[in-house]
C-alpha cells in the first residue's frame, strides 16, 4: 500500500520584548542564574501577574503577517503541572480563547507552491531551566527564563512531506525575524518546534494514529526526524503493526526517534481561565495601529526586487533571506545604480567571505557605500573586474573604502593606449615562436598573449583595451 504522511507543526517563538510577559524583569538571554527574577516571576505568595502590552502587539504582528483573524476578546488560562522550573505550579498560557486564529502561510518546494493553514497563535510564558550537577545527586533551578514571553504557532495538519515541513518552518522563521519580534536562534531555544506525524493510505480521508516528535533543534534535524519517523511508521504499517500514540524524542547522534517515558507525558493540565488576569480586548483601532508598523515582508520584498531591480527570482530569494541583507543590497544599488552587478558581488564574493567567517551582514566590514562605490569604479572603467576581485578581498580584510586601497596599491587600470601598446610590442617581440604559431592558425594562443600582458601590467590593464590592441598587432603581418 502507498502511504501519505500527515504532518502538523507547533512552533514556540520567544519574543524579543525588553521585559518579561507578566513582570518588569529583563527578558534577556545569558545573564547570571536567577539575576533576572523578582517575586512575580518567582511565583512568591500573594504576587500577581500584570500583562506586558508589547507582548500582545508582537503577537498581533505575527498574526497579521500570517493572515490570522485576531479575536476581539481573548483570555489567559492556567496550565497546571508540577515541575521545579515552573515556580507557580502552573504556566500562564492561552487555551479556549487564543489571541488569533485561522491564518495561513504560502510555501514553495520542488513540488510547487502550497498554502499551509495556521490553527492559532497564542501567547504564553516560558518556564525556567534546571541545571544538573553531574557530580552531585542534585539539580539547580535557574528562573531567568521564567516569564519570558512566547508565542505558540499551531499549524494545521496540511503538511505532506518532510521537505514541506522544513519550508514551512523556514517561512515562519523568516517572518518572525523580519518582524523583529524573535531572534530565531534555534540553538538557544528562541525558536522551537514540535511535530505531529501520522500516516494514512493515499486517498483515505481520516487521519492515522499520530506520534509527537520533540527535541529537534535545527531545520535540518526537523527534516531528518520527520524523514525517519515517516519511514518508521511506514515500516510498522507495512508489516501489519499498529502505531502507538506517544511522544518521541529525536536523538541527533543516533539519527532516530525514541519514545519518551510514558510517565512524563501522562498529564491532565486542568486548564481553567486565570482569575488573576482580565480578558484581553483588541479593537480595530489597535489592529490598525499595529498593522501600520508592519515592515515589508519577505515575499512582498522578493516580488518587488524581481520587478524593480529586474534580477532573477533566485537572486531575489537569496537577497531577501534576511532583512539586513536585503537592506544592504538595496543600499549598494542606491550607490552604484547597477542592480545585477550589485547582486552578483553581494551574493558571490561578500556572502562567501561572511559564510567562511560565520559572520553576519550586520557586522560586515565592507559597508554598502563602499561596495557600491567599488561597482561604480568598475562601471567607470577605473578598475577591471579582475582587479575588483582582489580589491573586495582587501576591503573585507581592512574595512577601508575602495578608493583608499586603489591609491595605496596603485591599482588604477591602465587605459593609456600608447603605454599599453608599448608593453604589447615588447611581449610580441619576446615571444617569436608563439607569434609564428598563432599566425599559422593556432588561435588559442591569443589567450596566452592576453595573460602575458596582464602579467606584465600586474592586472591593471583594461582587458577590453588589451584585446583590441593585441588583435590589431597580432593580426598585422
Amino acid at each position: 500500500m502507498h502511504y501519505e504522511p500527515v504532518i502538523g507543526l507547533e512552533v514556540h517563538a520567544q519574543l524579543l520584548t525588553n521585559s518579561k510577559i507578566f513582570c518588569g524583569c529583563s527578558a534577556e538571554f545569558g545573564a547570571a542564574p536567577n539575576s533576572h527574577t523578582c517575586p512575580v516571576c518567582l511565583g512568591m505568595p500573594g504576587v500577581l501577574p500584570v500583562l506586558n502590552k508589547t507582548v500582545v502587539e508582537f503577537a498581533m504582528k505575527m498574526a497579521l503577517a500570517t493572515h490570522c483573524r485576531i479575536n476581539f476578546m481573548s483570555n489567559f488560562a492556567r496550565k497546571n503541572y508540577f515541575y521545579p522550573d515552573l515556580p507557580k505550579g502552573y504556566q500562564i498560557s492561552q487555551y479556549a480563547l487564543p489571541l488569533a486564529e485561522h491564518g495561513y502561510v504560502d510555501v514553495e518546494t520542488e513540488a510547487g507552491k502550497k498554502r499551509i493553514g495556521l490553527t492559532r497563535i497564542h501567547m504564553e510564558e516560558d518556564a525556567g531551566k534546571l541545571v544538573h550537577d553531574e557530580h552531585l545527586p542534585s539539580s539547580y533551578v535557574d528562573l531567568n527564563r521564567t516569564g519570558v514571553p512566547l508565542i505558540e504557532i499551531v499549524g494545521e495538519p496540511d503538511i505532506r512531506s518532510a521537505e514541506e515541513a522544513a519550508a514551512y518552518l523556514r517561512r515562519l522563521h523568516e517572518t518572525l525575524v523580519y518582524l523583529e519580534i524573535c531572534d530565531g536562534n534555534m540553538e538557544e531555544g528562541s525558536f522551537r518546534c514540535d511535530a505531529n506525524v501520522s500516516l494514512r493510505p493515499v486517498g483515505q480521508e481520516t487521519f492515522g494514529t499520530r506520534t509527537e516528535l520533540k527535541n529537534m533543534n535545527s531545520f535540518r534535524n526537523v527534516q531528518r526526524a520527520l524523514e525517519y519517523e515517516i519511514k518508521r511508521q511506514e515500516y510498522i504499517l507495512e508489516s501489519g503493526g499498529e502505531i502507538v500514540q506517544e511522544t518521541r524524542l529525536w536523538d541527533d547522534t543516533q539519527g532516530l526517534t525514541l519514545p519518551m517515558r510514558s510517565k512524563e507525558e501522562a498529564h491532565d493540565y486542568r486548564y481553567f481561565p486565570d482569575p488573576d488576569l482580565v480578558e484581553i480586548h483588541v479593537d480595530d483601532a489597535w489592529i490598525k495601529d499595529v498593522e501600520s508598523t508592519l515592515p515589508e515582508l519577505p515575499l512582498e520584498k522578493r516580488e518587488r526586487f524581481i520587478r524593480e531591480y529586474e534580477i532573477p527570482a533566485y537572486d531575489a530569494g537569496v537577497l531577501t533571506a534576511s532583512k539586513p541583507l536585503a537592506e544592504y543590497y538595496e543600499a549598494v544599488v542606491k550607490v552604484c545604480g547597477k542592480p545585477k552587478p550589485a547582486a552578483n558581488w553581494v551574493m558571490g564574493d561578500l556572502l562567501r567571505f561572511l559564510n567562511e567567517d560565520k559572520a553576519d551582514i550586520r557586522t560586515c566590514p565592507v559597508s554598502a557605500e563602499a561596495l557600491g562605490d567599488m561597482i561604480r569604479l568598475i562601471e567607470e572603467g577605473t578598475i577591471s573586474g579582475k582587479m575588483a576581485k582582489d580589491l573586495i578581498q582587501e576591503m573585507y580584510k581592512t574595512g577601508k573604502p575602495p578608493r583608499a586601497i586603489i591609491e595605496e596599491k596603485g591599482m588604477v587600470q591602465i587605459t593609456d593606449e600608447g603605454a599599453l601598446a608599448q608593453v604589447i610590442d615588447e611581449i610580441i617581440a619576446a615571444n617569436p615562436n608563439q607569434l609564428v604559431q598563432y599566425r599559422s592558425g593556432k588561435d588559442k594562443l591569443f589567450g596566452y598573449f592576453v595573460g602575458q600582458t596582464m602579467k606584465a601590467t600586474q592586472g591593471k590593464a583594461n582587458p577590453q583595451l588589451i584585446n583590441e590592441l593585441l588583435k590589431k598587432k597580432l593580426d598585422q603581418s
Binding site: L48, V50, N80, R270, P275
Partner: protein, 485 residues
C-alpha cells in the same frame, strides 16, 4: 476607658489633642495582649518592637501636624497579608518560616498613613475554614465565650478587635471570612466590592473571590479604614480604576425613603430563632429610620454553597501548587527523588482541610469533569450575579442575617465539613457576585453571644452600606458590652 478599648476616631481625637501618645496607645494594646492573649490566642506573631518604633515615628508625625485618621493607631493584620521582612505564615506549616521581601499593597498603604502594626492575626490555614480551628498555630477562641470559636477564617482579626487587643484590624473575605467572624465576635466587618482593594500581597486562596476588608469597633471606624485601603493598584490586574469617594461622607446621613430588600430565601429553615429575632428587631429599627422594607427574591441562593465550593476549591488547587518545597517555606527532609519531595512536603506541610479542598478542586478541574463542575459552576455564578442585579433594581440595599447561628463550640463542626460550610450560607453569595457586604452587631443571644446583621449593596456602593449601617448603629443603640475576659 483604657486606650486599647477606644475606637479609631476616639483615639485619634485624643492623639490630636495631645491627651495621649501613640506610644502609650501601643503600650496599652500590648499590656492587654499580655493579659488576655493566653486565653484568646488571636495572634500568630506579635510585632512588639516594630510597633513601638513606628509608634514613636507616629508621635513625631503628629507633633509635626499629621492630621491623618490612622496615624499612631494600633492595627492588626491577618497573617495572610505579606509584610516585608516579617514572617507571613497564612496559618500554615508550609509557610511557617516565610519572610516576604515585599509588602502587600494594603500594608504599604497603612504604613504610609502612619498606622502601627501590632501583629499578625491567626486564621484558618490558607483562609480555608469558618472557625479558625484549622490554623497550624492552634485555635483562636471567641472572647465572649472561650469555649466557642470566633468564626473564620479571619477569626484572629475579629477576636483581636473584640478583645481590645488592637483598635482595628484587616482580614480577608472569600466566602464570608470577614463578615461571619465579625458577627460572631460582635464587631463591624466589611467586605468591599471585588476589585476595590488591591489583592497584591494577599496570599491567594480563591483569586476571583478574595477581597481584603476591615474589622472595627464601629461603623465610623470602618469608613476610616476603607478610606485608607481602597485604591486602584496597577500591580493587581483585577483592581478597578474607579473613583474612591470619601467614605466618611456617608456617615450621619439619614436613610429615610430608602428601600431595603429582605430576600425571602435568607429567612427559611436553618436559621437560629435568636438570630431571627435579633435581625427582625434590626429590620424594625431600619423601618423606624424611615426606610421601607420589601421582600425581594434571589432565586439561585440554594446553589451558592455548591457553586462556591467548586469555584473556590478549583482556584485554590492551582493557587496552592506553588508550595512545593522548591523555593521557600517548608521542605520535607530525606526525600529520595523529586516526586517524593513534592509528596512529603505537601503531605506534611498542609493540614487536612487544605488537602481536602485541593483534592476537591483538582477533581472539579479534571479532564472529563471540567464541564460538569467548574464550567457549570461559573455559569450559575453568572445567574447569582443577575439575581442581585435584579434585586438592586427594586432596593437600595439588602438586609440579611450574617450567620445562621451565633458562635458554635470548638470542635463542634470540625468532623462535619458540610455543616461547617453551611455557616457561610448567607455570606457566600456576595463573593460570587463580587458585591460589597457589611456585618454590624445587632444584639446578643440569651447566652450573651453576639449576633450580626448583614447589609449588601451593588458593585462599588460601599457608601450606601456605611450610610445605612451607621444610621442603624446610631438608632439601635445596641447595648455596649465588653467581653468578660
Amino acid at each position: 476607658m483604657e486606650l486599647n478599648q477606644l475606637t479609631i476616631h476616639a483615639l485619634r481625637d485624643k492623639l490630636r489633642a495631645r491627651e495621649t501618645t501613640a506610644v502609650a496607645a501601643a503600650e496599652s494594646v500590648f499590656d492587654r495582649i499580655d493579659a488576655v492573649e493566653g486565653k484568646v490566642h488571636a495572634y500568630i506573631s506579635l510585632m512588639r518592637d516594630e510597633a513601638l518604633k513606628t509608634a514613636e515615628d507616629a508621635d513625631r508625625r503628629i507633633q509635626n501636624g499629621d492630621q491623618g485618621d490612622l496615624c499612631g493607631i494600633p492595627v492588626a493584620l491577618k497573617d495572610i497579608l505579606c509584610t516585608q521582612g516579617f514572617k507571613t505564615t497564612c496559618g500554615s506549616r508550609i509557610l511557617h518560616n516565610f519572610i516576604p521581601p515585599y509588602d502587600a499593597t494594603v500594608v504599604a498603604a497603612l504604613k504610609q498613613v502612619g498606622a502601627v502594626f501590632v501583629g499578625k492575626a491567626n486564621m484558618d490555614e490558607f483562609a480555608m475554614g469558618s472557625s479558625t480551628e484549622t490554623s497550624w498555630f492552634g485555635v483562636t477562641r471567641n472572647p465572649w465565650d472561650l469555649d466557642r470559636i470566633p468564626g473564620g477564617s479571619s477569626g484572629g482579626s475579629a477576636a483581636a478587635v473584640a478583645a481590645d487587643e488592637c483598635i482595628a484590624s484587616l482580614g480577608t473575605d472569600t466566602g464570608g471570612s470577614i463578615r461571619q467572624p465579625a458577627s460572631l465576635c460582635g464587631v463591624v466587618g466589611m467586605k468591599p466590592t471585588y476589585g476595590r482593594v488591591s489583592r497584591f500581597g494577599l496570599i491567594a486562596f480563591a483569586s476571583s473571590l478574595d477581597q481584603i476588608g476591615p474589622f472595627t469597633k464601629d461603623v465610623e471606624d470602618c469608613a476610616i479604614m476603607m478610606n485608607a485601603i481602597c485604591a486602584y493598584d496597577p500591580k493587581d490586574s483585577t483592581s478597578v480604576k474607579a473613583d474612591v469617594p470619601d467614605y466618611k461622607s456617608f456617615l450621619n446621613r439619614d436613610v429615610a425613603g430608602w428601600t431595603v430588600g429582605i430576600p425571602r430565601e435568607y429567612f427559611q429553615a436553618g436559621i437560629d430563632p435568636e438570630v431571627l429575632t435579633a435581625v427582625k428587631k434590626a429590620i424594625a429599627v431600619i423601618e423606624a429610620a424611615g426606610a421601607r422594607c420589601v421582600e425581594v427574591t434571589l432565586p439561585h441562593t440554594d446553589y451558592c454553597v455548591a457553586v462556591y465550593y467548586i469555584v473556590a476549591t478549583a482556584e485554590a488547587s492551582s493557587n496552592l501548587a506553588r508550595y512545593d518545597g522548591v523555593k521557600y517555606g517548608y521542605r520535607a527532609e530525606n526525600a529520595r527523588d523529586l516526586l517524593e519531595m513534592y509528596k512529603k512536603t505537601r503531605s506534611e506541610g498542609f493540614g487536612a482541610e487544605v488537602k481536602r479542598r485541593i483534592m476537591l478542586g483538582t477533581y472539579a478541574l479534571s479532564s472529563g469533569y471540567y464541564d460538569a463542575y467548574y464550567k457549570k459552576a461559573s455559569q450559575v455564578r453568572g445567574r447569582v450575579k443577575e439575581d442581585f442585579d435584579n434585586a438592586f433594581r427594586q432596593c437600595d440595599v439588602i438586609l440579611t442575617p450574617t450567620s445562621p447561628t451565633p458562635a458554635f463550640r470548638l470542635g463542634e463542626k470540625t468532623d462535619d465539613p458540610l455543616q461547617m460550610y453551611l455557616s457561610d450560607i448567607y455570606t457566600i453569595s456576595a463573593n460570587l457576585a463580587g458585591i460589597p457586604g457589611l456585618s454590624v452587631p445587632c444584639g446578643f443571644s440569651a447566652q450573651g453571644l453576639p449576633i450580626g446583621v448583614q447589609f449588601l449593596a451593588g458593585h462599588f456602593a460601599e457608601g450606601k452600606l456605611l450610610q445605612i449601617a451607621h444610621a442603624y448603629e446610631q438608632r439601635a443603640a445596641t447595648e455596649k458590652r465588653r467581653p468578660a475576659l
